[in-house]
């Protein structure tokens, strides 16, 4: 039960806004010094999935799925078949003994599901005339099953045969699905998280049973992720971040991110009322097991799973809503936003003596399960050494529209997709130049000289 009340408005603008907006052109830590623009889509590109070490697939509102070679930037395949926008895409790994074969499952607004072979470009399976369009997909590799969520929850086997389905009572439908231990899945439906258990009977038929409904969020759940085998997290539209025990389904931690005005200056400050929900909306959650990175409005928020405390945050990380985030390492993270930029951040220790004012302006309550929403939270100023800074180390500017998503291929580069119909492949210029030199001397050898 903490609450930080720090700083004033002036400090906010000087410390937070200014450095964010002006990183300048000198970016020594930014190693993305080469780019390739990948063209092929005709509409907003919304999804990127990594197929293997060098391939990725992109899908968007034009119903196209394109497979790219990330090393060369070549477009390998065009998977055509959906007549409307793609609503979900996922990889489907099927291992038969030694080799694993990766396929792609796509769902579209045309109420069809397709299975594609990204090696040949064949549409291996397709199911059309579903009752509703599918909003999310979940592959249970262990069981060789996959689930589709929308207005109904369906369970399919790898031959695209419907195993069972379950109608939902919620009108918004399932927006996110994650896998839980003991053959359970969690489905986010509006404000609730519903836990289902898959029951595999001896004759290999599958049935689904609802075992729990977690309705602790006060608003629509926007993000639902696995943290590790025992934990999962969910984020809501009003900035609630809840850590759940995956087995017991208990709340382990409850954070409410408010980005709130300071209450230490009770005089004269005109409260603008509650912050607009979209400013606190948790758009995206990502984790590396130790840290949770939440995209909250146009800000970023790093939460430690172990200590269940805030590690670092920045209220205004972008000029507009953050759409996708990623933790590159324990200290580096990346975010993309509607403002068309991708930013690279580093979690740095505050320079000592730290300015307490820089710690920011959000309110956060931590509740135990029992103490849920009871009474005003007691205030406590957080220890300064525990909070660290998110320092902008670089930004990638190239897209002319919102950057919807990105996928990192480690040293091979980064793929971003955007509403401007483009994908951009960002690479390390030095490494690429080295690779080209290698290729040059190889060709030189093959040709036997110039």
């Amino acid at each position: 039960m903490l609450r930080w009340i720090l700083g004033g408005r002036e400090a906010q603008s000087s410390v937070e806004k200014t450095p964010v907006l002006c990183i300048g052109e000198e970016q020594p830590k930014n190693w993305f010094t080469e780019l390739q623009v990948l063209k092929g889509h005709f509409d907003i590109v919304r999804f990127l999935v990594q197929i293997d070490d060098f391939r990725c697939a992109s899908a968007g509102d034009d119903g196209l799925v394109l497979v790219w070679n990330v090393e060369t930037g070549e477009k390998l395949l065009e998977l055509r078949g959906h007549s409307q926008q793609i609503t979900a895409i996922t990889t489907f790994k099927c291992s038969n003994g030694l080799t694993t074969h990766t396929s792609l499952i796509t769902a579209s607004s045309d109420r069809s599901l397709s299975l594609w072979d990204p090696d040949t470009g064949n549409r291996v399976q397709t199911i059309s005339d579903l009752q509703s369009s599918v909003k999310c997909l979940l592959v249970l590799e262990r069981l060789c099953l996959w689930l589709s969520g929308g207005e109904e929850l369906c369970v399919w086997n790898k031959e695209f045969q419907l195993q069972c389905h379950r109608q939902n009572h919620s009108d918004t439908g399932i927006t996110a699905l994650i896998e839980l231990p003991k053959n359970c899945v969690a489905a986010a439906m509006d404000k609730e998280i519903v836990i289902y258990r898959l029951i595999l009977s001896a004759d290999s038929s599958v049935s689904v049973a609802e075992i729990r409904c977690l309705s602790d969020h006060r608003d629509q759940i926007r993000a639902l992720i696995n943290i590790n085998d025992n934990l999962f997290a969910s984020g809501s539209h009003v900035g609630e971040l809840i850590l759940w025990d995956a087995v017991d389904l208990n709340i382990l931690a409850y954070e409410h991110i408010l980005w709130e005005e300071s209450q230490s200056s009770p005089h004269a400050e005109i409260r603008m009322g509650a912050p607009k929900p979209s400013e606190m909306s948790i758009q995206h959650l990502t984790t590396n097991g130790k840290l949770i990175l939440a995209a909250v409005g146009s800000g970023l928020y790093v939460y430690s799973v172990e200590t269940k405390t805030v590690v670092a945050y920045r209220k205004v990380a972008h000029d507009s809503d953050v759409l996708h985030t990623m933790l590159l390492s324990d200290s580096e993270l990346m975010s993309c936003s509607e403002d068309g930029s991708v930013r690279i951040w580093e979690i740095q220790d505050l320079p000592l003596p730290a300015e307490p004012a820089s710690a920011g302006f959000f309110g956060m309550w931590t509740f135990g399960r029992s103490g849920k929403q009871t009474g005003p939270p007691s205030k406590k100023v957080m220890d300064v050494p525990n909070i660290r800074m998110l320092e902008l180390t670089g930004d990638l500017i190239g897209h002319s529209g919102a950057v919807q998503m990105f996928v990192s291929f480690k040293e091979n580069g980064l793929v971003t997709c955007s509403t401007d119909h483009l994908l951009i492949l960002w690479k390390n210029g030095e490494r690429q130049s080295h690779l080209r030199s290698l290729a040059l001397f190889q060709k030189l050898e093959e040709n036997g000289g110039l």
Partner: protein
């Protein structure tokens, strides 16, 4: 531009004329042209006794009616040959009796035989006229001509005998190609003519037969009347004529099966087979028609039919020839003789198929074009091309497209067709076959002086030419030997003529009256006598563009240019510039006037020249005769005797990309005067319109680049941006100014693409990242509308990838550049005044850069570890060391090299055919920009 042939004339005395042994000294006496006897007069006087100013190609025929007559000259311009007597010269060149083979009826053959005469090649000299010529004789078939043949000759006429001798092989090759083309067309036309004739004869035959039949019906008594006998004779004659013509058709068809002695006489297979099939078709047709006459006119039978009256037949052929029909409507042929001299002989166009004629003329034009300039120039250009061909890996960076022509060695047999059957061969140039030396040393002693470098390479090359010259006589053919003797014989008279020619030099400007028309019916004229031309006529003759600039005009233009250049140029510099400039243009003007002021030039030079370099070169050019530069036809000619125009030597053969050459001379001529004027009003170059950027356009852009460099103190930074691969956006409201600037700066865009694809001259809409990736130089419109604001938004958004040159506010926003590498080409106070000079200066610098980049790219240990124990850091260190210490490049200069190296690597790795599916890479780095102001 490895060789920069234009720079040749700048050669210094001690580097060229004296330390090297005279490269021509070892020429056998009969090949050498005597130097001008008067040491104190003009060094180019040698050419002065020739009555023409430029080399040209002359086509003549030996008309059976009027004797030798000139048909046309290439270039087809009466000015070209000046007062040179073409009629007389035609007589000279046609008087060589080369047709040793029998024409007409060979003994023992009943039918008239077509003579298959091989072409002959002769070098002739007429020292009195000061003309030397490579003469190529050929014969064309004409049904109406005596012996069915019409002798023609094509001659390459030059004042420089050595040029012809050294280029003999190549001339021979090219003229053979033209000749083969003409002959191929001629065979077609001949076959067609035969066809018509046969139709006429068949028709006549049928009419006669009908008449005879009527007579037969009329009664036996009339069978023996004189009239009937006459008719019968007539019929027999017609029949005989049919056989003969059929035989001719057969002969012409068998033409291709004849073994050819001539190694150059390789014709296009397609033309050949086309012609062959056409002829065979005709043959078949007439073999069939022959049926009704009971002679199943096949080969064997026709051969058996004998006819005695060979000679008469010939005459009859000629007489009947009058009735040549343009259509296929058969006409009755009357065996009535016409006067031989009444008939009109077919013109060359009629003799050859129109397309073939055009193609041949085109071929000859190209030959003329490619042999422009003096030997030295040709030689340097050849070296340049050969070197560039060796440097295929880096040529794309800064060199213009060289084309893939003549992979094979010169002189080998190439299937050639001018009528576009082998597309890759037809439009391309062949370089003159001057022997190639080893590559010139890459490292120049003085990196600041491109001229000295060039001269060094030249020196080393000329030594080799020397050895070639010694061996050349043995390479030449028999005809050449003969003719050289002839030349020698006539020299005595030639020498006497020199002096008087010199005296009359002023009046020897081209005679506008000596109009030579290809029409042989035109009255012949002897133009050599009426030398009524005055120097004043020179001024108008080049269409106004080349109107010589008088001294005053130059000065006034200088003033205006100085004013235009504004505050960037200090007064002092201006003074020096004007001093420097005046003598050059004075000389230029004096050249217009011929030799009158020639002597004053050297006196004027010493006190005018502020730069010792300029001065010395100038003095040298006027006083001393550099052996290799005898007929200097060059940009830098100070006192060129080519009094006709200052532009005489300005035409660089610009390769297959050249425009019509006649236009080239005019525009280049204007470039000459441009050096003193502002150049701001020049038309925007066609950059960005998708056209191929020619060398000439690039040279014109050189003027703009020079202006840019002189006008903007931050030009160096702008050039660095372009060379290091950072996209430069030229922002401005005035389209013309932006376009001019873009076309000038395009010279510095590495790897601009064949049509300047990496350059966008004028853009009116906001650009995106893909545009930045595609274009390295963008001209952007500044507008004050909402579009403009979004444009400015894109400018600021992508500001990290671009440099912005604002032409309205005269600012440049780009990363700071502190290197020294570009100081040489972006010298604010450069003494270079001419665009073309500056262009060559740039080219040589860029060429050196490209060579360094090549070295860097392909040096293994700079990129890869030598042993497995080495880490990437060691390789990095080695690379840095190479760049900094061995090449002496700073941080920013290294970026240029790294970028060029990247381009070379990408080019090398590119699949040879087709573009790869992968999107192009766009590399950049994150550095802060600063704003430069004037």
């Amino acid at each position: 531009m490895i060789g920069s042939p234009d720079v040749v004339a700048f050669t210094k005395e001690d580097e060229y004329g004296q330390t090297t042994p005279d490269p021509w000294a070892s020429i056998p006496e009969e090949f050498s042209v005597p130097l001008h006897p008067l040491a104190d007069s003009n060094p180019w006087a040698k050419t002065s006794y020739a009555k023409f100013t430029k080399d040209f190609i002359l086509i003549s025929e030996f008309s059976e009616q009027v004797g030798p007559q000139p048909l046309l000259t290439i270039p087809d311009d009466p000015k070209v040959c000046g007062t040179f007597d073409l009629n007389y010269f035609s007589l000279r060149i046609m008087s060589v009796d080369y047709q040793a083979s029998f024409v007409g009826h060979p003994p023992g053959s009943g039918y008239p035989r077509l003579s298959f005469v091989e072409d002959s090649r002769v070098v002739l000299g007429d020292s009195k006229e000061g003309a030397f010529a490579y003469v190529h004789h050929l014969t064309l078939y004409d049904l109406e001509a005596r012996g069915f043949v019409r002798p023609f000759c094509m001659a390459y006429v030059s004042a420089d005998e050595r040029k012809i001798m050294l280029q003999f092989e190549e001339l021979s090759l090219r003229f053979s190609q033209a000749s083969e083309c003409l002959k191929a067309g001629n065979r077609r036309a001949f076959a067609k003519e035969l066809q018509r004739k046969l139709q006429d004869l068949e028709y006549t035959h049928s009419v006669l037969q009908k008449e005879e039949g009527l007579q037969r019906e009329a009664g036996p008594q009339s069978m023996y009347s004189a009239h009937a006998v006459e008719k019968a004779n007539e019929l027999a004659n017609v029949e005989k004529s049919i056989y003969e013509h059929r035989d001719l058709l057969k002969q012409i068809t068998s033409y291709h099966h004849r073994p050819r002695r001539d190694p150059h006489a390789v014709t296009c297979q397609k033309c050949m087979s086309e012609c062959l099939s056409e002829c065979e078709e005709l043959l078949d047709k007439y073999a069939k028609l022959a049926g009704p006459y009971s002679y199943t006119g096949k080969v064997e039978e026709e051969g058996q039919i004998e006819d005695e009256a060979g000679e008469d037949e010939l005459e009859e052929e000629e007489e009947e020839g009058i009735k040549r029909r343009p259509s296929y409507t058969p006409q009755l042929i009357k065996a009535k003789s016409a006067k031989c001299f009444d008939k009109r002989l077919k013109t060359l166009q009629e003799l050859c198929d129109e397309t073939f004629y055009e193609a041949s003329v085109e071929l000859l034009k190209e030959t003329e074009r490619s042999f422009r300039g003096d030997l030295c120039y040709l030689h340097t250009r050849h070296l340049d091309r050969v070197l560039r061909r060796k440097q295929r890996v880096t040529n794309f960076l800064f060199e213009e497209e060289i084309g893939d022509e003549d992979e094979d060695e010169v002189g080998t047999i190439r299937p050639f067709c001018a009528v576009n059957h082998t597309v890759d061969n037809c439009t391309l140039l062949n370089p003159p076959p001057i022997v190639l030396g080893p590559e010139p040393p890459e490292e120049s002693t003085d990196p600041l002086d491109p001229a000295s470098e060039t001269s060094q390479t030249l020196e080393s090359e000329l030594g080799l030419v020397d050895s070639r010259l010694e061996s050349s006589p043995s390479d030449l053919t028999l005809e050449t030997q003969e003719s050289s003797e002839e030349t020698k014989g006539s020299f005595s008279s030639g020498k006497s003529g020199i002096k008087q020619n010199l005296a009359g030099m002023k009046s020897e400007a081209p005679d506008p009256d000596s109009d030579l028309t290809p029409d042989p019916d035109m009255e012949r004229e002897s133009s050599s006598d009426d030398m009524e031309t005055t120097a004043g006529e020179d001024e108008g003759e080049n269409g106004g563009d080349q109107t010589p600039v008088s001294l005053l005009e130059v000065v006034s233009e200088l003033e205006s240019s100085r004013a235009d250049e504004g505050e960037g140029v200090t007064e002092e510099v201006c003074d020096i510039e004007s001093d420097l400039l005046v003598p050059i243009d004075t000389a230029c003007c004096m050249a217009q006037e011929g030799f009158l002021y020639e002597a004053s030039a050297p006196e004027a030079a010493p006190h005018l020249g502020q730069s010792s370099h300029m001065q010395s070169s100038q003095v040298l050019v006027v006083n001393q005769e550099p052996q290799a530069l005898l007929p200097v036809q060059d940009d830098y000619t100070v006192g060129s005797p080519c009094s006709e125009s200052p532009a005489a030597g300005l035409e660089l053969p610009v390769g297959p990309l050249a425009d019509a050459v006649s236009r080239a001379s005019v525009e280049d001529g204007s470039d000459c005067t441009m050096s003193a004027s502002t150049g701001s009003d020049r038309a925007a170059s066609p950059l960005g319109y998708g056209g191929v950027v020619t060398l000439r356009q690039r040279k014109k852009a050189g003027q703009g680049a020079l202006r840019f460099v002189r006008q903007y103190p931050f030009a160096m930074q702008a050039l660095w941006c372009l060379l290091s691969g950072r996209t430069l956006v030229v922002l401005g409201a005035d389209e013309g100014r932006v376009r001019r600037l873009v076309s000038a700066l395009a010279l510095f865009v590495p790897g601009p693409g064949k049509c300047g694809e990496r350059v966008q001259a004028w853009l009116c809409c906001p650009f995106s990242l893909t545009d930045l990736q595609r274009w390295k130089l963008i001209g952007l419109q500044r507008v004050a509308s909402p579009v403009g604001s979004s444009m400015l938004y894109s400018l600021s958004r992508y500001s990290r990838y671009i440099s912005i040159l604002d032409t309205d506010q005269k600012t440049l926003r780009c990363p700071p550049y502190r290197g020294q590498l570009l100081a040489n080409i972006a010298d604010h106070r450069t003494y270079i005044r001419r665009g073309s000079t500056y262009f060559l200066h740039i080219q040589s610098t860029l060429c050196r850069l490209a060579a360094k980049a090549f070295l860097f790219t392909f040096t293994h240990h700079l990129h890869l570890p030598v042993s497995s124990t080495e880490g990437p850091e060691i390789v990095d260190g080695r690379r840095r060391c190479f760049l900094q210490e061995q090449l002496g490049l700073g941080e920013e200069d290294s970026q240029i090299l790294l970028y060029l190296s990247q381009l070379i690597t990408q080019q090398y790795l590119q699949p040879p055919t087709g573009s790869s599916a992968a999107a192009p890479c766009f590399a950049f780095n994150y550095t802060t920009s600063v704003l430069y102001k004037i």
